[in-house]
Symmetry: C2
Subunit: 330 residues, 2 copies
Amino acid sequence: MTEATSRDPNGTVPAPAVAIGDIVAAHARIAEAVTRTPLLRAFWAPGDLWLKAENLQPIGAFKLRGAANAIARLEPDVRARGVVTHSSGNHGQAVAWAARAAGIPAVIVMPQEAMAVKVEATKALGAEVVIVPNSHREVAAEAIQAQRRMTLVPPFDHPDVIAGQGTLAVEVLEDLDGIDTVLVPVGGGGLISGVGVAMASLSPRTRVVGVEPTLAADARQSLAAGRRIAWDARSTYRTIADGTRTPLLGEITFPIIQSTVDEIVTVDEDEIFAAVATLVRQAHLVVEPSGALSVAAYLAAPQKYGRTVAVLSGGNIDPSILTRALALTS
Amino acid sequence: MTEATSRDPNGTVPAPAVAIGDIVAAHARIAEAVTRTPLLRAFWAPGDLWLKAENLQPIGAFKLRGAANAIARLEPDVRARGVVTHSSGNHGQAVAWAARAAGIPAVIVMPQEAMAVKVEATKALGAEVVIVPNSHREVAAEAIQAQRRMTLVPPFDHPDVIAGQGTLAVEVLEDLDGIDTVLVPVGGGGLISGVGVAMASLSPRTRVVGVEPTLAADARQSLAAGRRIAWDARSTYRTIADGTRTPLLGEITFPIIQSTVDEIVTVDEDEIFAAVATLVRQAHLVVEPSGALSVAAYLAAPQKYGRTVAVLSGGNIDPSILTRALALTS
């Protein structure tokens, strides 16, 4: 990994923050720490659909890739002091898991509103959980970072995290030829940035298409406008796809998305619920709403995409929401 | 495949109906027709548990292996006339799928009580469905076999079917060393017979343990008695694990089980529901009650089994039963 960012200090052509070499190196670096998830043919779907089942990662989400790579990239003495992050969701568990695997301490800052089951799951992974009011999460994490000289592992806007997420695309390309389209859920953009860089280099014919809920379509709007546009939580918190409520793309992810993503499409809430239920009934996979966005987009227009890989980004769904999805579509 | 059965016409030492060579040959023969399912580490479980995810087969169950092998083994002119079977469950869909893949006709005899969704799913696979009263299923299938000169593919008690199911064990042994125990759901005994023959030859140190519902423990009782003992449907139909309601082990499977299976354990209904729910929450897999028997047995006594592979034999669960399992264990 180079330390280059998208902002070139000399003001000339910006260098990419993540290069294909970073992703290939990450792929080798984290091979032992992550599960090589299966790419499953969805015979039940029209056309030619394949599912990259990241819900089968140990913590149930792709986030483990980026966290494992970011931690493995630290200098040994820095790494030994531990890592900190703020997250009520999959990223927190990913950092806790990767830290435990690396034998280092981890502190996860979580909001008071976090579900008890998520707090307990994070503690069970050996992490120290610090509960603060939601608005204090970032400040609290930064304070711990400074006081304990720990390294902050951001959820998406970091080159090592992006390179880690991109390893998913390397596996996909090892498993399948002739991919026309890869459909990727978009939150902060870490996953699609990594996939975009990998595809641009290793399979330039493959179209990289992001998927957002209509209620949290800040990435689609930002790409159209040519600048990052934040969406208010009053809108984004209406979507069931909690992993995509991130209000704004990252400083690092946005230019990568601009240069490597072909299109961002949106899906409605009823399409998300239907995709969750279809994945249970037909694919026998438990996928969270954010993770099912890709399948929702495919099923809305299968003829559009050709041979398609839909990334199922995670499986951590509240059982009551799963029950609701099954009831809505029975 | 030799034509030997467990009954030696000369009355001397019975030759096994299925030899390891049959399974190894089947493994190569059906490689294109079935999915090489992942073996997933269950990090969330105590001890050292791995899951063989046969719920991720195209029709959602291991049955595809045996059906594909039985059809591939037919002489071309015999195969071209097509196949017939009677089944309201996974075996019917497996035969329909494998027949379509082989480009031959298939007739599936189903009882009037079969759920409409299963009838439609079987038709969608290109099979002809014949609906008859439940008690007429076998007679109807045999009549079609005679009239149309089709081949009957039995659900479990056939050497080619058993050899096909055994290919699952070959994959497991390719993926993992040092397996102390493999836990296998038992219905008619086709799956555990194939796994038993494979393990006896390729990994004799591995204990092969069958799992039945307490309400359908005919295999356990038969093994203890040294002869096949049938259980009445009034008992077996009380279990939620519909794939294990088979009243009696097969003539071919029983002696194989006697010689290759170390033990058969039983689990109660509440343990089955809990295992289904745990697999949703922790493994993000949709597994039918029969398919979750193996995990139910493991979780009842994890310290007993050492490094364990639990076969998740299928994923075709009624959504209402899945919802019930989640509600019971919330």
